[in-house]
């Protein structure tokens, strides 16, 4: 059997199929459907310093082959996470990556410090630099200098591996990727959602209370692939591919474009078993093609 394990920033993940932030909450609900430990990793919903209520409904809307969301980073804050949520994840032996967002660099650093205190059960921190649904949420991943600075300071706040999660809503994603690499990120995850909108023509009201939201799902897969592909050519740190992955074939496409691992997002909503099915499909495919490790196909698109 092909050994699916991969190494990212010194940590060995059981396999390259992970759950994307904000699409698996804190694992509790999905644990009803499969053992969380069977996946490579689970990335928590973004956690902030203080609790956040999030936006009022409507927060979501279905679009052609995709969906819009503007949850507004609803979460109970880092203290609640550490004291209440993390226990369950530990008990279920989930390989845990904690996704965080701050309103300022200092908030990111505080979050990193607090997580360092429980670093024995966390394998990495994912810096959400790119949430389109909170004001200024996009700033960090639109400005290369800010991005670099953010990672640099976070780097000083923790020894935990840092994954910088990038926004696709930029003119030149490679520039941002290089900046976070420069800043000391151990890996890059991409992409977060594209800014989008929809309007109810009967009421003239936007479909989301927050007016705009983030577009995810199969609709954005081609955009994500192009960005992973272009970034892979220009950086050395590993890339975790995200965007519209619904089945194992999509995951393989991302790996061919340069992703070492993938995160499954919107697909979880439609099928709570999606990630497990992707994992099994990938395992079989690699096996049949005679690969010993998933890394053998990373970046192997013949362009």
């Amino acid at each position: 059997m092909t050994d699916l394990s991969i190494q990212i920033a010194g940590h060995k993940y059981a396999n390259p199929v992970w759950l994307a932030s904000g699409t698996c909450a804190y694992g509790r609900e999905l644990a009803d459907y499969f053992p969380l430990s069977s996946l490579g990793a689970i990335v928590t919903k973004t956690i902030t310093l203080e609790p956040r209520l999030g936006h009022p409904s409507p927060r979501v809307f279905e679009t052609p082959s995709g969906m819009l969301n503007a949850i507004g980073l609803q979460n109970d804050g880092i203290r609640d996470f550490i004291s209440n949520k993390i226990k369950f994840l530990g008990q279920h032996r989930a390989d845990l990556i904690v996704n965080i967002a701050g309103k300022s660099i200092s908030e990111y650093c505080q979050l990193c410090e607090q997580l360092t205190g429980i670093s024995d059960i966390i394998s990495a921190i994912e810096l959400n630099m790119s949430c389109p649904n909170v004001s200024n949420g996009l700033e960090f991943s639109k400005n290369a200098e800010l991005a670099e600075q953010l990672v640099k300071m976070a780097r000083k706040s923790t020894h935990l591996p840092l994954i910088a999660k990038l926004s696709p809503n930029v003119s030149n994603i490679v520039e941002i990727a290089q900046a976070v690499e420069q800043g000391g990120a151990d890996a890059i995850s991409m992409i977060n959602t594209l800014v989008g909108m929809a309007v109810d023509i009967e009421t003239f009201k936007p479909r989301l209370s927050n007016v705009t939201g983030g577009l995810s799902g199969p609709a954005i897969k081609p955009v994500a692939l192009a960005m992973v592909y272009r970034t892979y050519q220009q950086i050395k740190i590993p890339i975790i591919g995200i965007g519209g992955i619904m089945n194992y074939k999509d995951a393989i496409e991302f790996m061919l474009c340069g992703a070492q691992a993938v995160q499954v997002g919107t697909a979880n909503f439609v099928n709570p078993m999606a990630s497990i099915e992707i994992l099994n499909g990938m395992q079989n495919w690699l096996q049949e093609k005679g690969y010993d490790s998933p890394s053998e196909i990373v970046g192997k698109v013949e362009a």
């Binding site: 904000g22 609900e29 009803d32 999030g54 979501v60 609803q74 199969p218 909503f269 439609v270």
Partner: protein
């Protein structure tokens, strides 16, 4: 515990009021459902719908679960095309359920449009478990006689059924809460409010009116909420409603209709 199932379609037929009755063979879950629970159905339809569609459970027997639905948009229109012998991929049972009223309470069920299924299910369970039929009052509202959902079937349970139509073509004229208000104003004042219970399901505007009614008459109300549901089992945070929350610094928080509901205490919901 909810799970993903491939369920054979036993039948899928049109019934009164432009509704469809879908029967699915589901021995694995039929025994574990409760009134208020729902299932998420994956409807593969031409076009680009990504999400499943949520439907309340209408009732169950040893082998089957049933769903009663109206064709509202693309998904439900496609669902109506499915034939016996086909298979549907579902997740369920999902969500919480109505609480059980004590046997000495007067129960008001208030349902509008496609809000009937969970109330029907609750009524059936109550009557089966020996709850006195004469203490159950079911208000079934619609715009007109033809749109009344599942009226006869509800009557067959031997309870008090009141049709309420906006055009007066049957029963009480008005919206369904008018019917319930008349009843509440009329019932013997010797019945303590704690001995009355309201259960309601229907469009948001109706539920808002029910909540007011419950508050006005000081009756405990439980209402089944609706929302757009990307997942249906609590992982997306997309389906929330505003609920009073003493623990929160601003005294409210957003709760998931799918996982924390769909049944909420009427008095907890904050209507904007």
């Amino acid at each position: 515990m909810p799970a993903v199932y491939q369920l054979p379609i036993v039948s899928n037929i049109e019934v009164r009021g432009g509704a469809y009755l879908l029967t699915l063979e589901a021995p694995e879950i039929a025994h574990s459902c409760a009134p208020g629970n729902f299932i998420q159905i994956k409807i593969n339809f031409p076009g680009n719908g990504l999400w499943r569609r949520p439907f309340s459970i209408l009732d169950t027997d040893r082998n089957n679960i049933r769903v009663l639905y109206k064709t509202l948009g693309r998904g439900t229109a496609a669902l109506a095309e499915f034939k016996a012998g086909g298979v549907l991929n579902i997740i369920g049972p999902l969500g919480n359920c109505f609480s059980n009223p004590d046997n000495d309470t007067t129960v008001l069920l208030i349902g509008g449009g496609i809000g009937i299924p969970p109330l029907y299910y609750l009524t059936k369970r109550l009557t089966e478990s020996g709850f006195p039929r004469q203490s159950i009052h079911f208000f079934n509202g619609a715009s007109d006689y033809d749109s009344l959902t599942y009226l006869e079937e509800t009557s067959e349970l031997g309870i008090n059924v009141y049709a309420v139509t906006e055009d007066g073509s049957m029963g009480i004229k008005g919206v369904v809460t008018d019917g319930a208000r008349q009843f509440l104003s009329g019932v013997d004042n010797s019945i303590d409010p704690p001995k009355k219970r309201i259960f309601a399901c229907g469009p948001a505007q109706m539920l808002k009116a029910v909540s007011k009614l419950a508050a006005q008459f000081n009756v405990k109300g439980e209402i089944a909420m609706e929302a757009l549901m990307p997942c249906g089992f609590g992982i997306c945070m997309g389906c929330v409603i505003k609920v009073a929350d003493p623990c929160s610094s601003c005294h409210y928080s957003f709760k998931r209709v799918c996982q924390d509901g769909p049944i909420f205490n009427a008095s907890d919901i904050i209507w904007d």
